[in-house]
Amino acid sequence: MNQTAFVPTEKIRKLQEKEARRMKLKRRKPNRSRAGDFLIYFMLAVVAFLMAFPLVFSVSSALKPLDELFRFPPRLLPLNPTFDNFSDLMVTLGASWVPFSRYLMNTVVLTMVGTAGHLLLASMAAFVLAKYDFPLGKTFFNIVVVALMFSGYVTAIPNYIIQSRLHLIDTFWAVLLPSFAAPIGLFLMKQFMEGIPMSLIESAKLDGAKEFRIFWQIVMPNVKPAWLTLIIFSVQNLWNARASTVIYSDAKKPLVYALQQIQAGGIARMGQAAAVTVVVMIVPIVTFILSQSRILETMATSGLKD
């Protein structure tokens, strides 16, 4: 009797387990087929490999000694990884007519001043555009949105004419002033600031705070993700700025320009060129990795409403 009673309970238990597993799967996400999930994972893996391949290849080339760079057939990973290319690069930079430290200083100054100015000016403008309704405010913002499209090369020629009229050519200001007014920063900051409750600002006003104090002590501490995003975008932008068309004096050129001159040195500098690629790309990528959660938080408000 006992034996026969045991078998059905076991079966029921198994059935219950199966049902529970099915429910669990179902509860995870509705409208998702397993085959589809598998396909997506598979495709993402393949594409991620293709996307990462050139970057991995850049790094591995930089670590290859010269003879391996010209090996046939080429290998993805170096046989004898070495930092020779980087030390060669330092030697070349050390021997240049303008000292390496000067280039580095130029880039540091440009990046720091440009970012600080951009952050301050763009946040001030974004604050009033997001939180106050005043004549021409909306129009101004719409123009900024259109100007999002006109970045970089497209305005290069007319900008050159204007800057030469203002006698800015061959000074740091030729890089700094346009970067202060980069539309993307104002845009992201304004969209993020819209999320700050108006009641916060009104209560501060009731306590007798003036606009600048509200801006500095109430609003700015509350938009930290947007801050960070603006800083990262601005640093990426200025770090990559070669400024070759507006700065002529070698002593005023940024580091990336100097590095790319070495890169253009042809076959003989193949190894150093690979090292340059790595040096140039590492800064923007690392800053992004360190701050990606804050940047995504900011980008969540980046939508353009009608």
Binding site: M51, F127, F134, T155, I157, N159, M299, G303
Partner: protein
């Protein structure tokens, strides 16, 4: 009729007076806006206006600009064969990399959104990295090198598909495809980030409601729920991809050379560079810039009106 016009102007005047009053009361707002606005107008709006102005002149920086009417435009369209090549190339790049890059950005953002959190972070970094990696596209110069040491040539030779190296970056037949591949590789930019973040923000309750209402697979979910909720991000992404698609110059100059063989990789922006910085014909360059501005604004308007109809 006169009475009507009179009334109309009276209303206009009155609303202008109201706005003026309001502006006076809110003058602190203008104070906040002023520093940014001055720089913005000088370096983003004024260039547009000056390029329209100079496009009607002959201007070589040394002499004062001389008014020549529509001559620049007429020459551009009727006589400048290279410009027509540039337009053709730019349109080809824009039409392929613009929409495809845009859709890929959204598609991958959508797929990535299905991943568990830690994998998602990794995937976002991998997909976004090429667009910010400075001049990492330089590495494609080695992959597509014309001699046997180039990666692709070596690979194809090993497989026995080709028996002589192909000049990928010098042969006009291969130049454009190579450049389009590189641009697509770099196309997961700011728009992509906006999509990833936007997908995270779509209200979960909508999906559950949709399930109850009979949505049965992810495609229906995408069409009826995700896309309509993502409209603002899609608009932003469109603006960003127009910027990218029309501004192509860096990649072509670095890979295919400047000038490229038979101008096969010349784009509108490289043409602009040629006349602006090499020949110093600023009037002519301004005419090119003006046409480019117009094309961008037109595209933006077209895309926006298309997106507005989405999901309705």
């Amino acid at each position: 009729m006169v009475g009507f016009a009179h009334k109309y102007y009276a209303i206009k005047r009155r609303s202008a007076a109201v706005a003026w009053d309001k502006a006076k009361r809110m003058r602190v707002c203008y104070l906040f806006l002023l520093p940014y606005a001055v720089l913005f107008f000088t370096f983003f709006i004024l260039p547009m206006i000056t390029s329209i102005f100079y496009s009607f002149t002959y201007y070589n920086i040394l002499e004062a600009p001389r008014f020549i009417g529509f001559t620049n435009y007429i020459n551009l369209i009727l006589q400048d064969d290279v410009f027509l090549i540039a337009v053709k190339n730019t349109l080809l790049i824009a039409v392929i990399t613009g929409p495809i890059g845009y859709m890929l950005s959204f598609g991958f953002a959508w797929f990535i959104n299905e991943l568990p959190r830690w994998l998602r972070t990794l995937a976002v970094v991998i997909f976004y990295a090429p667009s910010i990696a400075g001049n990492a596209y330089y590495i494609f110069g080695i992959i597509f090198r014309g001699d046997i040491y180039g990666y692709l040539n070596a690979f194809l030779t090993q497989l026995g598909i080709i028996n002589a190296p192909i000049l990928w970056l010098l042969d006009p037949a291969y130049m454009m495809p190579v450049i389009i591949i590189v641009i697509l590789w770099m196309s997961m930019g700011t728009g992509f980030l906006s999509f990833v973040a936007g997908l995270q923000g779509v209200d979960r309750a909508l999906y559950e409601a949709g399930y109850v209402d009979g949505i049965r697979n992810r495609w229906q979910e995408l069409y009826y729920i995700t896309l309509p909720s993502m409209k603002p991000m899609l608009m932003f992404g469109a603006v960003m991809s127009i910027t990218q698609a029309f501004g192509v110059a860096d990649v072509t100059m670095a890979l295919a050379g400047y000038p490229s063989t038979d101008y096969a990789a010349r784009t509108i922006v490289t043409h602009l560079f040629d006349y602006g910085y090499t020949r110093f014909e600023m009037g002519y360059a301004s005419a090119i810039a003006t046409l480019l501005f117009l094309a961008m604004i037109f595209c933006n308007k077209a895309i926006q009106s298309g997106l507005r109809r989405l999901g309705t």
